[in-house]
């Protein structure tokens, strides 16, 4: 068997020098975004909820990846590798979603899913009708 020869000796820590805001400042920004993601949906406006909860989650993930994981100064192929996985996952979701999101089509019907929705609605109504039920 061929001997594995070290091609490049790795330094004790191969991390690149830190650029951008300080870590504590980055953490502060993340906490600020957390507050936005909690307070925004309280307005109960669908668009605002989507933006503040899910949009802000994307921003937070980007900040963690960039400033804590230093992905921007890592070898480019690492970004490509991770991005490929996200794309593959997106493809999987896109391929499966018609079957999951729709409960019937031209020649088929997902009776189990329909029954599940009706059952869920009925049990919620029954729970709401109970004395002392909390109404949201």
């Amino acid at each position: 068997m061929a001997e594995l020869t070290p091609s490049v000796a790795a330094p004790a820590t191969a991390a690149p020098a830190h650029h951008g805001p300080s870590y504590v400042k980055t953490w502060g920004i993340l906490l600020g975004l957390l507050v936005v993601s909690v307070v925004g949906p309280m307005l109960e406006i669908r668009v605002v909820t989507l933006l503040t909860a899910f949009g802000v989650a994307l921003v937070k993930a980007y900040i963690v990846a960039k400033y804590f994981m230093h992905i921007d100064v890592e070898k480019r192929y690492v970004t490509y590798l991770l991005f490929t996985m996200v794309v593959l996952m997106g493809l999987m979701v896109a391929a499966v979603s018609p079957d999951v999101l729709k409960h019937d089509g031209h020649r088929w019907e997902n009776r189990a899913a329909k029954r599940s929705v009706v059952r869920g609605e009925n049990s919620a109504k029954a729970a709401a009708a109970l004395p002392g039920a909390v109404h949201h």
């Binding site: 820590t13 906490l31 990846a65 804590f68 899913a113």
Partner: protein, 190 residues
Amino acid sequence: MMRPIATTRSATGIPTGKLAVWWLIASEIVIFGGVLGGYIMHRLGHPDWAHQAIHTNTWAGAFNTFVLLTSSLAAVLAHQAAEHGDGKKAAKMLYLTVVGGLVFLVVKSFEWSHEIHAGYTITSNTFWSFYYTAAGIHGIHVIVGMIIMLFIAADAAKGKELQRVENVGLYWHFVDIVWIFLFPLLYIAK
């Protein structure tokens, strides 16, 4: 003493140990992506899940997000200390990160106890099946991260294998990112 290949070899321009962590994260993207993608699709196809989602505790979820973000700060400060060759400080920061993980799990266990006691178990509804599965897999990752971190911190305190501090940090930040997405999906979208 022989140093492991993962420490000394870097055929791709990235030390092999660190490259392995990136590959691990790549595979985790598919695992968590599948769970989250499945949840989103079913949530959109089952409007009745909204009646179940109102029972999750937003404040507990928000507090745990705060805890994980703070533990990520400790992990990156541990990495910074390791870069400067300060093993003792790196170890201290890793222990702080572990404490963050512990607080996260304690909050989660209180939350789950309350929900199970109220009758919302993994079998009561598909929403709760997803809820316990997604948060459970994530919780297992937190536990695994904490265990590995304790070993690495013990070495770092002696000034040994400091490059591992960054590796475990990468894993921890990824676990944090997963929670960043789980939080709005399970606690905010009511």
